[in-house]
Structure formats: structure tokens, C-alpha cells
Symmetry: C2
Subunit: 148 residues, 2 copies
């Protein structure tokens, strides 16, 4: 079984696309993250939903978490304002983890090895340098357990 045969569609956003739209995609589809592609269409990074959640937290609470409990909650709904006009690239953490990428003809063991090595919940599958889908850890487990 090859990576391209088990890859699934997954929401992908371009790094220069709108940050508010990306946040809506995460929220509507209840996703833990999105795959971000570079201008050539190649998967470049994961945008974790937890990174967007940072925008819900005012800077002075990030600096002193003990202040969070005494804050009014009205600031939570300012997130849309903070996202508007930003690109997805601006949301990505500087020290982001390496994105696991496999080739379309890689075997299931190669996929599992890449996922295990980077401790990633998903790998992006590329075919001729463009994203062809993703494989999640739970998808791999489903296949492995189904075969028994």
C-alpha cells in the first residue's frame, strides 16, 4: 500500500491567504490545525489552532497568567479584529516544528516512520512537489487494525 492510496483530503490554506478565513475554517470544521502551503503549492507548515487561540489572550496575560482570572471576557470577541488584514504566514510560530512530508509512492511503513520520528499527528503527501492529501495517525491505525 502506497501513501497516495491512503491519503485523504484535508483543508489546506496558502501562506499568503487571509488569517480570519483560516480561523473560520478551523472553527467550522473543528480542526486541530491546517496544512499551510508555500507559493509553489508545496506543504510548508502546520498552523495549529492553539496558535490562533493565542490571539484571544491579551499580551499582559501572556506575560502574567495570574491576571487572566480577573479580566473581563469582552476581549475574547476581539479576535476577529486582530485577524482581519493578517496573512496566515503572520500567524505561524517562529519555532514551528518540522512538517512531516512523504512522497506519493512511499510505503505505509515509511509513512509511519516519518510520523513517529516527528511525533506528528499527520503527514502531508506530495506528488510531483504538490500536496496530494494528508495521512493522519488515526487513519494509519485504522488501516493497521482493520487488517487483523
Amino acid at each position: 500500500m502506497r501513501a497516495s492510496e491512503i491519503a485523504e483530503d484535508f483543508p489546506v490554506v496558502a501562506s499568503d491567504s487571509n488569517a480570519l478565513e483560516a480561523a473560520r475554517l478551523l472553527a467550522t470544521n473543528r480542526l486541530p490545525g491546517l496544512v499551510v502551503t508555500d507559493p509553489r503549492g508545496r506543504p510548508a507548515a502546520i498552523l495549529p489552532a492553539s496558535q490562533v487561540v493565542r490571539l484571544l489572550v491579551p499580551r499582559y496575560v501572556q506575560d502574567d497568567p495570574s491576571l487572566a482570572g480577573v479580566l473581563s471576557e469582552s476581549m475574547a470577541d476581539r479576535v476577529a479584529e486582530k485577524l482581519r488584514g493578517k496573512t496566515v504566514a503572520a500567524l505561524l510560530p517562529d519555532d514551528r516544528p518540522e512538517l512531516a512530508v512523504v512522497e506519493a509512492d512511499d510505503t505505509i511503513v515509511e509513512v509511519a516512520a516519518a510520523m513517529a520520528r516527528l511525533r506528528s499527528p499527520l503527514v502531508a503527501v506530495v506528488d510531483h512537489d504538490r500536496i496530494a492529501g494528508v495521512i493522519t495517525a488515526s487513519r494509519l491505525l485504522e488501516l493497521a487494525l482493520r487488517e487483523r
Copy 2:
């Protein structure tokens, strides 16, 4: 809005429960991870699906990833054998990240701050020392964006 009001049910497994059952839960529900509780019922860790995927990868491929491509794939279906008889606790990584835990009466800003600090895709909500549900990053975004 308080944490207990927005918490949702989420599959939880006890640390002394069966590893094969936990893997099936991940696979069937297509989850990126499970919340693991200690013997007192308090959330103690996350079991990431990628950690279970490690069992699909033979030790000598973990040591030398270049061998993955030349392997037969039949070993992938030995995962059930490897899981049988193991506990969930035995699967947890030694250097696992801290589990984000909030109290039932914490505010949405406190929840967001805990999630952002640990860069966690979810936080466990406890009420009187027992798990009351989880809040995912995408759930928080959904609430924040809906209010606009």
C-alpha cells in the same frame, strides 16, 4: 462564560486500561489523541495517536529510517499483537508534554491562556478533582468567532 459551560465530552481512558482498546478508540473515532486519567480519575496525560503509530515501525527502522522503503509491509498488521496485554500507561512517552488542566469555574480567557502557554490542542476541565470534559482549541475559536 466558564470552562464547565463550554466543555465537551471526549474519549477518556484509564492509565491501567487495555492498550489495544485504546488504539481501537483512536482509530474508530479518528482521534488525534486520548485523555488518560490516573487511578483517582484525574486527567494525567494525553496519549497521542502518533505514539501508537510508533508500534507500526520496527525497531531497526526507527534506528535507520532508510530501511523503511525496502521492508515488506506485512509487519504493519502485527500492531494488534504488540498492543495486546499492554496497558495504556506503557504506551505513554517518558518525556510527554504537560497536560493542560483548567478548573470548571475558570473563565474563557484563563482557558485560552492555559492552551496558548502549553501550545496544546486541548485542555482538560476538572471539577472537584475529576474530569468534566475537554475544550479544544477549535471549540474556543468557534465561540470567539460566533460572538462577532
